[in-house]
């Protein structure tokens, strides 16, 4: 953890304000960035050295306000309130200044030293809004710097100002509400008992008590004492009687009007509402008819591109590894040394030649879709369909992320407000074919039977997810709160950001998954060298041979698939003792499909199980696992019958 003399700087802003881009342009290559899933969805922590001065910078997930019911956003609060930072960098999307300032005003009330980054100033200008940075600074009383994080503009000035504030400990004066509200806030602030945990200052604590009273998120301020509770209720009632609406609404409205006034005073609309390119593109992307055609085309292109890039690469890369193996077999004979070397080559070669050719293009395309802002649009288009399976459009984004990897997808369900939606989405995500399963589907089904089979496989898979959703939602009757999903403005994906995202995922594959692939291959090689794999195969024979009609040797590969799905593919080749290109000489088309179906639906990999357990609890994780096994066995049997 950080030493006390290294100042900690928290980056906070509303979702899609470009906060992480700004963070990365500062953390960049100067420091090793580590992602660790903590209590928040994911916060990134970096120690950077800027002109010889160390800073601990922390990127928190986006939050719309400091008074929230969203579990992901609540993690932001506990971090912000719990570990008092030395400086807050508030990132605002200048193109939606009015709304961004609402969070800024809340942060000003919090009263920590603060710098504001008026980000995406170019987007605002494109929309015809010119923001007077100096005027915003005068009005807020904290340094405000215009930035374009995507191009690194304004970052240096922001850091200079940040060091300045760190040195001076500059704190902005909070803005006052209307007199009647302010009087009530002051009354409550004074009646806070001595031992009560004050967050930053009495006024802020009082405001938050009023705003959150009677609400689930009220407990973040600690156990409210009965006397204080009475005082809070009295103050709240007074505000409500006077204004005729709930106290939290009154305070939110006060802040909203302050923010709007500030935005209107400090920005000028230069030209009328021009139809900018992104609005025009959006009109097409979300067109009631064209939108769906584009969505279908996007998903289709997604898989076609991955396959078209992956399969030639795969064929190209497999050659050298096979030649190496043949050479080793000739020189080492059939001893232990050969088995060790064979396992190593299978593991390394499988990773390079079979997994990466499909995995890499998938990561790149995923990052492009994410950066473009297409996931939210897909959510809008698919909301009606999601209602049929008891969910709504907000679950679309985690589902699509699931095509990359199920683990971050399950973590992304934290953005769903209701627990029921989170559970249902998390149970269904393991059925989404992640990149590992996509590799298997493309490398086996598409490669041997043709891309149309793979398309059919995907269609069938989505149908299974829909059907399961429909069935499980019958048991989870609790009503869903309905869709409220922000549609961020479209952004041209930048190569830098796409490469960075791809690299982060790739690095975690190299770090965690690849060693498992190599280790698994070596273990299988050693098992087969002492003929121990036969026992496992014998034990599993009733299921594998009689139930699924697969070759006896494949039993052991199904067991290892639990560690990593790709491992099953690599071990399959190894267990059958054939070259990838000669696979069809030892198994039939039906067996290939049954194997793929079983591997795809059978218990998700170890990491997915672990994250399910952590996120939705043991009971639901077991339900999901049980469902996986049932579905895998039932579907495989069905496919066997049909083919």
């Amino acid at each position: 953890m950080s030493r006390p003399e290294v100042p900690s700087v928290i980056f906070i802003g509303q979702p899609n304000s470009g906060k992480s881009t700004l963070f990365n342009s500062i953390a960049g290559s100067k420091a090793e960035t580590s992602n660790f899933p903590g209590t928040s969805v994911k916060h990134t922590h970096s120690r950077v050295s800027i002109e010889g001065r160390l800073l601990d910078i922390i990127d928190l997930p986006g939050a719309y306000s400091l008074c929230t019911t969203d579990p992901a956003e609540q993690a932001v609060l506990s971090h912000l309130f719990g570990e008092r930072p030395d400086l807050v960098v508030n990132v605002i999307d200048a193109s939606t200044l009015g709304r961004g300032l609402e969070l800024t005003l809340e942060l000003v009330e919090l009263g920590y030293p603060m710098v504001v980054a008026l980000n995406m100033i170019d987007v605002a200008e494109r929309k015809g809004v010119r923001v007077d940075t100096a005027a915003v600074e005068r009005a807020l009383g904290v340094p405000v710097v215009a930035t374009i994080a995507a191009h690194g503009r304004g970052v240096k000035e922001l850091l200079d100002r940040a060091f300045d504030v760190l040195a001076k400990g500059q704190i902005a004066p909070p803005r006052r509400y209307s007199e009647d509200v302010e009087a009530q806030v002051a009354e409550l602030a004074e009646s806070l008992p001595g031992g009560f945990p004050i967050v930053s200052n009495r006024r802020f604590t009082a405001v938050k008590l009023i705003e959150t009273a009677g609400h689930a998120c009220g407990d973040f301020l600690g156990e409210v004492e009965p006397v204080l509770r009475e005082a809070v209720d009295r103050v709240r009632r007074k505000i409500e009687e006077r204004r005729g609406s709930p106290a939290y609404e009154v305070i939110a409205a006060e802040r909203h009007h302050q923010a709007m006034k500030l935005a209107e005073e400090t920005s000028r609309v230069e030209h009328g509402r021009r139809l900018t390119w992104d609005k025009r593109v959006d009109a097409v992307l979300m067109h009631p008819l064209g939108g769906y055609l584009i969505l279908a085309a996007v998903l289709m292109a997604f898989f076609v591109i991955i396959f078209e890039v992956g399969s030639p690469l795969e064929a190209l890369l497999l050659g050298p590894f096979n030649a190496l193996k043949a050479a080793l077999a000739a020189s080492l004979g059939d001893g232990l040394a050969f088995h060790l070397a064979e396992g190593l080559i299978q593991g390394v070669g499988g990773g390079v030649a079979i997994v990466l050719p499909y995995f890499l293009p998938l990561l790149v395309l995923m990052a492009v879709l994410e950066d473009l802002g297409y996931l939210a649009r897909a959510g809008f288009l698919l909301d009606a369909f999601m209602h049929r399976i008891g969910l709504h459009g907000k679950s679309v984004s985690p589902f699509i992320l699931g095509f990359g990897c199920n683990v971050p997808a399950i973590m992304a369900t934290r953005t769903l407000e209701s627990h029921r939606d989170r559970v249902l989405t998390s149970i269904l995500i393991p059925f989404i074919p992640c990149s590992a399963r996509t590799t298997i589907i493309l490398a086996l089904v598409a490669f041997y039977l043709g891309p149309l089979w793979a398309m059919g496989f995907y269609a069938g898979n989505i149908l299974v997810v829909a059907l399961l959703g429909w069935i499980v939602s019958r048991f989870l009757k609790e009503p869903s709160p309905g869709l409220i999903l922000e549609i961020p403005s479209l952004k041209t994906p930048r190569p830098g950001s796409v490469l960075r995202k791809t690299w982060l995922q790739l690095r975690s594959f190299i770090k965690f998954a690849w060693p498992i692939l190599i280790g698994g291959s070596i273990v299988l090689s050693l098992l087969s060298s002492v003929r121990a794999d036969r026992w496992i195969n014998d034990v599993l024979a009733p299921l594998v041979v009689r139930g699924l009609g697969l070759p006896h040797e494949l039993g052991v590969t199904l067991v290892f698939g639990f560690l990593r799905k790709e491992l099953s593919l690599i071990m399959m080749l190894q267990a059958l003792g054939v070259d990838y290109r000669d696979l069809m000489s030892v198994i039939t088309r039906e067996q290939l499909v049954v194997f793929t179906v079983f591997i795809s639906f059978f218990v998700p990999c170890l990491s997915t199980c672990a994250i399910l357990w952590k996120e939705i609890g043991r009971k639901w994780a077991l339900v999901s696992t049980g469902l996986s096994i049932t579905v895998a066995v039932a579907l495989s049997a069905l496919v066997r019958l049909l083919l």
Partner: protein
């Protein structure tokens, strides 16, 4: 463009009052749910009804009473509405259930 738009026969829309006066004859007095409101017309939010959670969420996303919003579109198959807040230029996809809880009135202002 056809007025008024939205489902007048759905069971849920009966929970709220429907416009008694035809909208095009006296628009300034007409209060309706967002679900029934016309497209591409400036609408003033009269009230955010519904549960506290929904209201808090809407407010966090910058939708407050008296804000001017415009309906930009709607997805197929009774899908969500695309609502743009003109004051801060943010767009939100709003499920029909949520849209039904937002009461608006058309205003004479170019969209």
């Amino acid at each position: 463009m056809s007025y008024p738009r939205g489902d007048f026969h759905g069971p849920a829309s009966r929970l709220y009052f429907r416009p008694l006066i035809p909208y095009n004859s006296a628009p300034e007095f007409t209060i309706m749910t967002l679900l029934e409101a016309p497209r591409n017309t400036s609408l003033r939010i009269v009230e955010l009804s519904g549960g506290e959670n929904v209201r808090r969420r809407l407010m966090a996303l910058g939708f407050h009473k008296d804000d001017i919003v415009v309906l930009d579109g709607q997805a197929l198959f009774r899908g969500p509405l695309l609502v743009r807040n003109c004051r801060c230029d943010t767009t939100v996809a709003m499920g029909r259930g949520v849209a039904q809880k937002v009461l608006v009135e058309p205003v004479h202002e170019p969209a």
